[in-house]
Amino acid sequence: MRVKPEETLRLEEIAYQIRRLSLEMITCGRWGHVGGSFSLAEILACLYFHELEVDPQNPRWEGRDRFVLSKAHASPALYAALALRGFFPVEELYTYCELGGRLEGHTDMTRTPGLECSGGALGQGLSIAVGMALGFRMKEQPYNRVYCVLGDGECNEGQVWEAAMSAAHYHLDNLIAIVDYNKVMAKGFVWEEMGLEPLRAKWRAFGWEVLEVDGHDIEALLRVLYEARHVRVHGAPIAVIAHTVKGKGLRETEFNYKWHTQAPDPEQDDSMLRQLARNYGRPEEGYSKLNDPVAKEKFYGGE
């Protein structure tokens, strides 16, 4: 499979925008997960702008692929991807975590157009994805796929392995699990908190086909997603272990569990966004609400 250079450039821009908007959202909402959102930016760009069959004009279209964000604390990145894809206005991202809004801290499928399930309690998403994949089979929709993104720390949960066992038992080769292996958990590094290795061997032992990829390399991601959808389809579910960097894109957030859950204040966000722009060779853009008196009043006067 050949990837056109202009496609790579287009998706790189989307990934940059996902990071930029995630940081804006987390600042504006005063809460959120920077590290786990940033590690997912390229993966979500490739899924929502290349791989997934979805129709933003008709989010409930029967023939769509399904996407489950099991690590639902990365909701800023997902909301950014959905908004950029046209499921709702980009401007609405600034209502992240707002009472009465459509963008909950953790995902709520009854509120947000384009969401396929609700989440937040780690370990639950892969089971839901298994149900969706079984549903495609029962409805005889062989061309559709279910994608499920899991966190690495999330793989500590027993339910993940219950789901893995059942997906292999039912030969769900229409199910693709992507592990965002960013090596950092909420309070420490994976190998300190609860070791996962040998991760590839674990998925293999549970009956899955396993692919590994650099989760920030767009060309490699597109190849792996192509392989998962079209080539390695032989009666086993497919796990893509995506090696990523938590907080990828900024000096202070990269590989740093202190930025697992943390919201910058507007000034800090402004300088982080400028750094992000420089790192990605984009024109410098600061925090869009920095000098917006209403937003400032809300930020400093709120609660």
């Binding site: 399904r66 709520d108 499928m109 009854t110 396929e116 399930c117 609700s118 989440g119 937040g120 309690a121 370990g123 639950q124 998403g125 892969l126 089971s127 839901i128 994805a129 298994v130 149900g131 969706m132 994949a133 079984l134 549903g135 495609f136 029962m138 409805k139 027993g158 339910q159 219950e162 789901a163 066992m165 059942s166 038992h169």
Partner: protein, 314 residues
């Protein structure tokens, strides 16, 4: 002679399966106990064996519900309400998915299996989940009607199946409805409110009380959430004394639901029959009913206590 309730459950699943093509059944290695096995025999392609992994089973049910199916994930009530509570709460109840959860092996008739297999807190747990509807049917007729209502109701439903043969309480014209209780016997002095298998015992208790000249009203609340608050309040205002009876813990179940109504709308003396904040130990059904003071004579005794307390009120 009427059938064991789980037999009726299994056969009704098949009937509904013929009628509703989107109905699917999931199991966690208990289908010959729950009687979901009949559905497996009738519709093997719509029966999903999940193995002994209830958390995963409820997640799969959620995923199927998002695909337009109406899943019945079947397991013992204790595993649904305790082992898989977080999955039911976050994956199913929060997004209001149309998953219908039958909880089998509830309360006293689970008998010799002991505390690990015996659900007594399930009513309390399920009642506390937003969007969840909760029912404990009083006889086979009501179970059948309730299962149809569950399929036709949008959103999550939890209902109980007692491993027991219950006497027929309702005539052929009876239909279950959410939030609707039934007055099975008129009375003036005390109100007995039953749910599930305890309603039949309340009727027997009312007979015992009648021998002593006490006029007991008997209500059945198969629908515990929503509860028929109007019926409960109206009867409590009339009699001023209420006894609830449930095959479950008195903490958080029907007794608590009635207490909430009485406190807010119709203050009355209340006594609650059921498992008194304990795990159930192994034993025969009759022995356990006596041990937990849940026989008709016990209900009648609690009614007399309530009457005395009412008379002592200023």
């Amino acid at each position: 002679m009427s059938e064991e309730m789980r037999e009726v459950f299994g056969k009704t699943l098949v009937e509904l399966g013929h009628e509703f093509a989107e109905l699917v059944v999931l199991d966690a290695d208990l289908h010959t106990s729950s009687k979901a096995v009949y559905f497996k025999q009738a519709f093997p392609g719509r029966f999903i064996q999940c193995g002994i992994a209830e958390q995963n089973m409820f997640g799969i049910a959620a995923g199927l519900a998002t695909q337009g199916f109406i899943p019945f994930p079947c397991t013992f009530a204790v595993f649904a309400s305790q082992r898989a509570l977080d999955q039911i709460a976050v994956s199913i109840a929060y997004p209001r998915l149309s998953v219908k959860i039958p909880g089998s092996y509830v309360g006293i008739p689970t008998s010799r299996a002991g505390a690990s297999h015996n659900a007594v807190a399930d009513l309390a747990i399920m009642r506390s989940l937003p969007h969840m509807r909760v029912a404990d049917p009083g006889d086979n007729r009501e179970l059948r009607s309730l299962m149809r209502a569950a399929v036709l109701t949008e959103g999550p439903v939890y209902f109980r199946i007692t491993r027991y043969t219950l006497p027929d309480l309702f005539g052929t014209g009876y239909e279950f409805a959410w939030g609707r209780g039934v007055r099975l016997r008129e009375g003036r002095d005390v109100t007995l409110i039953g749910t599930g298998m305890m309603t039949g015992l309340c009727l027997e208790a009312a007979e015992l009380l009648a021998r002593d000249g006490v006029s007991a009203e008997v209500l059945h609340c198969g629908s515990i959430k929503p509860l028929d608050e109007d019926l409960v309040a109206e009867s409590a205002r009339k009699t001023g004394a209420v006894v609830t009876a449930e095959n479950a813990s008195v903490v958080g179940g029907l007794g608590s639901a009635v207490a909430e109504v009485l406190t807010e709308r119709a203050p009355a003396v209340l006594r609650r029959v059921g498992v008194q904040d304990r795990f159930i130990e192994s034993g025969g059904i009759g022995e356990l009913l006596a041990h937990h003071r849940m026989r008709p004579a016990d209900i009648a005794g609690r009614a007399r206590e309530a009457l005395e307390a009412k008379e002592r009120l200023p």
